[in-house]
């Protein structure tokens, strides 16, 4: 497919000024889920997944990730003129999560705020919008967050991977950034691979349709178009981050694109904590920034059902080192864990037990 003219570039060069991550400490062993539903544990895709604590939701988790991003830099709150939260697990059906986040961070009232909706691509959509806001000159800084406490039907195959976590990215002018955005694009079609109606608790998915026609088609086309536009190959990138629904999909996607295991390893988090939906690719990018060096080039491609991918080329600047100032890294959060093997407690933490 020809990819000419698909690249999106801003009027002013934009970069990642700072970033922060959050993963809850609770992990449920997937063997406990398998045991409840009579499934063989050898067929479970990952060993454990992250689960929100009883007092956590997408708002509280977004706040901690954003606070981590703001702690890494010294930026006056009045300079941050936009807060966008991408998620498919909003605490309220009607009331923005983003205003709660902005209020706690002390960014209100003169700030643009909204919640983004695009399944697992909602977080990278927030990033694209933040890049545009800064790149057009509308805002000195804009905050984009991808965060989820992913929901899954009890007994469904998604229950083994639907996890909790995400990351926040503060975008600003490239001259002051820790990593510069070289270019981005979006690739979107109306693909019915995953959906939920207004009064349903859990989304339905299209079984095998979620693979080739959905995840692989969009991730491959977006990434290849970006590489074509920039005249690059996978060898030009030290690191690559993709949306991570399960380990098998990510390994196959990387292989088909020509990226090696060592290129995806730092941001490959699904085997450790599961699929954090709108937070998945953003959390992977945060994990790469935790270890990247100046000059490293990062390929980033998200995927969201419904369906689409955002692909970005990012190059690290020497300012990234200054962000390593004691704020918890992604691996700090992953290392902090309390494992549970009790399906009943898992149901309680996921707020699936309702009392009159």
């Amino acid at each position: 497919m020809p990819a000419q003219g698909t690249l999106m570039r801003t009027q002013h060069a934009v970069g990642i000024t700072s970033y922060g991550a959050y993963v809850p400490r609770w992990r449920v062993r997937t063997e406990a889920i398998a045991a409840c539903w009579g499934r063989e544990t050898s067929r479970v895709p990952i060993r454990a997944k992250s689960v929100p604590g009883p007092d956590e939701d997408t708002a509280t988790m977004s706040i901690e990730a954003a606070q981590n991003a703001l702690r890494r830099v010294d930026i006056p709150p009045g300079q941050i003129r936009a807060v966008w939260v991408g998620s498919e697990s909003k605490p309220y059906a009607v009331k923005p999560t983003s205003t709660i986040v902005a209020e706690v961070l002390g960014l209100t009232p003169f700030v643009s705020a909204a919640d983004m909706e695009f399944a697992c691509k909602a977080g990278s959509e927030a990033m694209q919008t933040a890049i545009a806001y800064v790149g057009s000159g509308m805002a000195p800084y804009a905050l984009a967050i991808g965060m989820d406490t992913a929901q899954s039907q009890p007994g469904d195959s998604l229950e083994y991977t639907a996890a909790a976590g995400g990351a926040a990215f503060l975008f600003g002018r490239a001259e002051q950034a820790a990593a510069e955005i070289e270019g981005s694009l979006s690739y979107v079609t109306d693909t019915p691979d995953f959906f939920r109606h207004a009064h349903q608790h859990y989304p339905q998915h299209g079984q095998r349709f979620t693979g080739d026609m959905a995840y692989f088609h969009h991730s491959l086309h977006a990434t290849r178009a970006l590489l074509d536009e920039l005249g690059r190959t996978p060898k030009d990138y030290r690191w690559a981050v993709f949306h991570q629904p399960n380990p098998k999909f990510v390994r196959r996607l990387a292989k088909e694109l020509g990226f090696g295991k060592e290129q995806i390893e730092p941001g490959f988090l699904v085997p450790l904590i599961g699929n954090t939906y709108a937070g998945s690719s953003l959390l992977g990018l945060a994990a790469v920034l935790d270890i990247a060096e100046p000059g490293d080039r990062i390929l980033f491609t998200s995927y969201g059902s419904g369906a689409g991918s955002d692909s970005m080329s990012i190059v690290v600047t020497p300012r990234l080192r200054a962000l390593r100032n004691g704020v918890p890294s992604v691996r700090d959060y992953i290392a902090r864990r309390r494992e549970i093997g009790d399906y009943g407690l898992y149901l309680r933490l996921m707020k699936k037990i309702h009392r009159e």
Binding site: T60, Y92, G326, D332, Y333
Partner: protein, 140 residues
């Protein structure tokens, strides 16, 4: 919690916003319009660090309505770096994981468990200071 009260308490609940006397510099939390130390009515808002230590703690075994999910959790008397003392729920910790003098930090969490129909009340809780990257120090 009724809506006007929650709206008024947001600066304290969300950001640990206190009041500092511009005359004698004493800090009050919750905020006051007049200083308890010198009687001055000249107060300014100040954001507390959220860093402190546990002076005492107790385990909640019977919960009031709206706090049923907190049964078994810990509530602590905490002294912040600024000298302010407050009572708050602890989170992300088991009863055998806390002790007198333990360093804690503020996090924002859901306070009540009866929010399925009404307002979700967010506010401060404290947890043991998160372990950071080796050799790095936490910032306030």
């Amino acid at each position: 919690m009724n809506l006007p009260r929650y709206r008024r308490l947001q600066p304290a609940f969300y950001r640990l916003q206190a009041a500092r006397c511009t005359a004698c510099r004493q800090v009050h939390f919750p905020s006051r319009t007049r200083c308890l130390g010198c009687g001055s009515a000249s107060m300014e808002p100040v954001r507390l660090s959220g860093q402190g230590r546990v002076l005492s703690f107790a385990r909640m075994l019977h919960a009031a309505r709206g706090f049923q999910d907190s049964v078994g959790s810990l509530t602590a008397l905490i002294e912040l770096r600024e000298g302010v003392r407050l009572v708050a729920q602890l989170t992300d910790v088991e009863p055998d994981g806390i002790g007198i003098g333990q360093e804690v930090e503020m996090v924002l969490r859901r306070l009540r468990s009866d929010a399925e129909q009404g307002l979700i009340v967010y506010g401060y809780k404290f947890r043991p200071v998160l372990k950071r990257q080796a050799g790095a120090q936490a910032q306030s």
